[in-house]
Symmetry: C2
Subunit: 237 residues, 2 copies
């Protein structure tokens, strides 16, 4: 069994450490499926079958170059097991069904949903430049998108609570339409007719930016407000 | 560059999830150097050159069997770089020198000290049986040992703050005497004449107990007191 492979931490995003320190090609060497964001929170990324796509702040879907710089991402090698076909269910209710099936909130696992979605709401931020702003300021640049009756794929991960600050505790999912004309960080969805697959992961591998002076010099010892900021910025519930 | 490979989490120890879920042999497949504790907090482990030793509650040093069950441990493949020779310095002051050399608290790194120690204070707990008690009750079973003018090796890891609860934030070191007659979890030390080596690590890999019903069924979502408990139980400062 393989772990979830993560590049960077959520704490880094909160602390304005938004340099791209790993390329799309390097990240895909750790797996063919994943999610992430570019340097300066440059849109929302989704990796499917070894190909990385970006949903930019205009809502456009772009296939990213091998050298596209990534500030934060999660990736794994897909080996999904079919869970169940679902019709007419909200993402919130489906998340409960998934947790019932997995039987615990204490493992990392991947989720993949393919089929027809009645409604999907997403968001994507605009790329920030140095000196990078905080996630609060970045949130003001982001745009919200929604689409009804769209065919596509939702991919993401469940992270246990104790890793909050390291990653995003709970579910964290991105969407891409089959037509490559819609996607982003998922804020909410209603599923019309979707096959759900799950993949249990053995744990987590974190890769840190080893040659980044800003990361090295940052004071990352104050955790007092970290989880509140992440939860406000990332929660899809 | 390789990551620190960790089996289990500190949260599991706090939440009385003390089953051994990985064997000494399996753990040594991820590296030849490390620290840990047995099932039920069965003594303090130190791995050097691919060999695992246990300091038990009597203070005896035992070479552990391949199938010895481990509840928590950190291991990595040694590739240390010489840092400096130190004479007559406390572990506390040396820790500051090491952090100055590494230049950041934001990376995982390994520390190895070999030579003569003027004084070393350690502790080791007694193995608990199911239903396992909390770390507070276990702390009451532990014994404190000290030794003056002892030759040996101290090995351990530095973990950045945001991983508190996942691991032990800050320094966490174990000791083994050359004569194999003294060791344990380091509470404090004064170094007489010691070579210090360091090894920067690329990040962290966590391996969770995938077939453990107690782990699966535990409620690990309340983090409110976790860090205080860990700090009280593990801090060597």
């Amino acid at each position: 069994m393989k772990p979830l492979v993560q590049f960077g931490t959520m704490q880094m995003l909160v602390e304005r450490l938004l340099d791209g320190f790993v390329s799309a090609k390097e990240m895909l060497e750790s797996g063919n499926t994943g999610i992430g964001t570019g340097a300066g929170v440059d849109g929302e990324l989704i990796m499917l079958d070894g190909v990385a796509y970006q949903v930019d702040v205009q809502g456009h879907v772009n296939r990213v170059a091998d050298d596209f710089p990534i500030a934060f991402g999660d990736v794994h090698q897909a080996d999904f097991k079919p869970f169940k076909h679902f019709e007419n269910i909200t993402l919130e209710d489906l998340s409960k069904e998934i947790l019932k099936e997995v039987g615990t909130k204490n493992y990392f696992f991947a989720v993949k949903m393919t089929g027809e979605f009645a409604a999907v709401e997403t968001r994507a931020a605009a790329k920030s430049e140095k000196p990078y702003p905080g996630l609060g300021a970045i949130a003001k640049t982001q745009r919200i998108f929604d689409r009804n009756d769209v065919k596509g794929t939702m991919v993401g991960y469940f992270t246990p609570h104790v890793y909050e600050g390291v990653g995003v505790a709970g579910f964290h999912q991105h969407f891409l339409s089959d037509e490559l004309d819609f996607g982003g960080h998922v804020l909410g969805a209603t599923l019309k007719s979707v096959d759900v697959e799950l993949q249990l992961l053995s744990g987590l591998t974190i890769n840190l930016p080893m040659d980044n002076e800003d990361y090295k010099n940052a004071d990352l010892t104050d955790l007092s407000t970290l989880n509140d900021v992440i939860h406000a910025a990332e929660s899809a519930d």
